[in-house]
């Protein structure tokens, strides 16, 4: 069985704004294996965010092919893509993106609401989920994986930035996805909280989960096993990290 999770071939994304076309991603090809921790690194405007949006099925490429788990994703419908986002991908955003005035519990629950067996509303799974025991267990497990169990009944806006990001990671984990896609997860955090987040990501990777980290900081990127350097929409380097940084408490993330 192939160990390749993601394979992109000659991927391009062109934005047409008025007369000038911008090649945000320009003829990119690479592979990512299961269980890898990859950092996509580049300065702002380099196209790394666009690449992440395509990899996360939030956007479609203009040309090129994207194989996910060996399947060509070109002809997937909007709802099929939603299904993949829900079950296979856990997003961690720079601005956390938690629903305000909503509890930690409900925020983590959110992807579960959209994780339904297709067209069988009356399936046993759905009927049992009404009683919520299984669901609650799942949510508590995800929260304890990020050390946020004690805040389960807090409202999201009562949390600090670092706590918010950890809740966001719990939300990303809830459907047991193949990949965690983290877009500048430490960008809005102080260094201490940033270290904690990186520590959690490394822990998840050591448990076998694939992680794609988008960042513009070399230091943060060095927590990954492999760095894809991107510039002007092209990959300029694909290198293994020789000395992987271990995120530890007490360390300061610059």
């Amino acid at each position: 069985m192939s160990n390749i999770l993601i394979q992109v071939k000659n991927l391009s994304k062109i934005y047409n704004e008025g007369k000038s076309a911008t090649r945000a991603v320009n003829d990119v090809s690479f592979e990512i294996n299961k269980g890898e921790f990859v950092a996509i690194m580049g300065p702002s405007g380099s196209g790394k965010s666009t690449l992440m949006q395509i990899l996360g099925f939030l956007d479609k490429p203009t040309s090129g092919r994207y194989f996910f788990e060996g399947k060509d994703t070109k002809d997937f419908s909007e709802d099929e893509l939603a299904q993949i986002r829900n079950k296979k991908i856990g997003f961690v955003f720079q601005t956390f993106n938690l629903l305000p005035r909503t509890t930690v519990y409900e925020n983590v629950e959110l992807p579960l609401l959209y994780n339904k067996e297709k067209n069988n509303f009356f399936s046993w799974k759905n009927i049992f989920s009404l009683f919520g025991n299984q669901k609650k267990e799942k949510i508590m497990m995800a929260l304890s994986a990020v050390g946020m169990k004690h805040r389960v009944n807090y409202f999201s806006n009562q949390l600090s930035g670092g706590e918010k990001q950890r809740v966001a990671i719990a939300r990303a984990l809830i459907n047991n996805p193949e990949i965690i896609l983290a877009d500048e997860p430490t960008g809005n955090l102080d260094s201490k909280s940033g270290i904690q987040v990186m520590k959690i990501l490394q822990k998840l990777n050591s448990q076998g989960r694939t992680i794609i980290l988008v960042t513009h900081e070399t230091y943060t990127a060095e927590h990954a096993q492999r760095i894809l350097r991107i510039m002007d929409g092209k990959i300029i380097a694909d290198e293994k990290v020789v000395k992987i940084r271990k995120a530890q408490d007490g360390e300061i993330l610059k």
């Binding site: 996360g56 939030l58 709802d79 720079q94 005035r101 992807p111 609401l113």
Partner: protein
């Protein structure tokens, strides 16, 4: 699960914008309550009118001279004097073996004359009637008595006064046994009717009229031999049709008519008048209902407006939900359900308000002296709820569609 969650989400969103939600709901509240109020008032007014008409007697049959022009008015209404109906016709109708359904029947002639007492002179209408009048019309005597069968026939110069006439002519004096002058002749007052109030609908106002025996009116005042019309009272309402048939039979026989097309009289009953009234008031009610529904429609447009604003304000949230795996249908149903929640809530409050106001109107109408019954149509509630649900879905469609088309990329738009 599938339905509960969107409702929970809607509730939360409604609560976070309480004022706006209330204003949104207000349109629906006003719409729904106006439908219920209009329906209730319509129903009560209809009942009031029909009760009054039935008060005259739904078991009355009217026989007028002249052919019946389809369902149009009889010729006599047009001021054409038709002389085909006579006292002997009345007597024939009253015969039990001819028309067994009839309990009482009275002949009428109507005219106007001035009535004089001392220096008081009143121009008023007079009715020459037979002794059965009092039973046929359910009239009641306040003072004295009505005239007898003998007085009906022997040209007695007696008169019974309507209540208002008595008051206008005599003020506080007791009119009994006084003599009034009508067309130069003195009549003895033998009785005064109780006040009856206006009945409207073409029924002569008893309070403003004086009543003299039929023959006296025919011979001494008018110089005629025919009757203006006959009113007959059947034993019970369900006998009206067979009574009418028997009247047709005996009158055709007496007038030597073989072909019904040549009838020189017409027979009507109040039941058909009531049906006509019902049709008219129903039509009015539905007209008002449609006006009320327009206000619901306006309320619906308001809801759509607010929902569109809500969609615009929550682009980020919708984008996030989609990024986390919400399908088009998930977002669509969430917004439809949100609209429905708003409208449904408005509907419930509108029903309560509508019933309350209708009740208040009935209380006020009662104080003003109308016999106003508080009636709420079960159907008006069903209609109001159905319309508001339809409006919720209809006016929720577009905002929900717009919401469902929002790109998951919006979740990444950093502010």
């Amino acid at each position: 699960m599938r339905f509960w969650n969107p409702i929970k989400i809607s509730y939360k969103n409604l609560m976070t914008t309480k004022n706006r939600s209330f204003l949104t709901i207000l349109g629906i509240i006003i719409g729904v309550s106006s439908v219920i109020i209009i329906f209730s008032i319509g129903l009560s007014a209809q009942k009031l009118v029909l009760d009054q008409v039935e008060g005259i007697g739904s078991n009355l049959i009217a026989i007028t001279p002249g052919a019946s022009e389809e369902s149009g008015p009889p010729a006599s209404v047009m001021g054409i004097s038709v002389t085909t109906l006579t006292y002997d016709d009345l007597r024939a109708i009253k015969q039990k073996r001819n028309v067994p359904e009839i309990e009482y029947a009275a002949g009428y002639v109507l005219g106007t004359a001035s009535v004089l007492w001392k220096n008081n002179n009143l121009n008023t209408s007079f009715s020459g009637v037979t002794a059965d009048y009092i039973q046929v019309e359910n009239a009641e005597i306040e003072n004295g008595r009505f005239f007898t069968k003998e007085e009906e026939r022997n040209l007695s110069r007696v008169v019974v006064l309507g209540n208002k006439i008595a008051r206008d002519l005599f003020n506080n004096t007791n009119p009994l046994n006084k003599k009034v002058e009508i067309k130069g002749q003195k009549y003895t007052i033998i009785g005064v009717f109780k006040e009856r109030g206006s009945l409207g609908f073409g029924v002569s106002n008893q309070d403003n009229s004086v009543f003299i025996p039929l023959f006296t009116a025919q011979k001494l005042i008018m110089g005629i031999n025919h009757l203006g019309f006959i009113r007959a009272k059947v034993v019970s309402t369900n006998l009206i049709e067979s009574g009418k048939n028997n009247i047709f039979k005996i009158l055709r026989e007496r007038h030597n008519i073989d072909n019904p097309a040549n009838d020189d009289f017409s027979v009507r009953d109040l039941a058909s008048a009531i049906t006509v009234l019902e049709n008219i008031t129903d039509a009015l009610r539905y007209f008002m209902l449609s006006v009320g529904s327009i206000s619901l429609l306006v309320g619906g447009v308001g809801v759509m407006n607010i929902m569109l604003i809500a969609v615009n304000q929550r682009i980020w949230e919708i984008g996030l939900r989609k990024a986390l795996g919400a399908k088009i249908a998930d977002i669509f149903s969430q917004f439809i359900l949100e609209t429905l929640t708003v409208v449904w809530l408005g509907g419930i409050l509108g029903i309560i308000l509508g019933i309350l106001v209708s009740f208040l109107i009935s209380v006020i109408a009662g104080i003003l002296g109308y016999e106003w019954k508080f009636l709420i149509s079960f159907w008006s509630i069903i209609v109001a709820v159905a319309i508001s649900v339809i409006i919720g879905i209809l006016f929720g469609l577009y905002p929900a569609y717009k919401a469902s088309r929002i790109s998951p990329m919006e979740a990444l738009r950093y502010e």
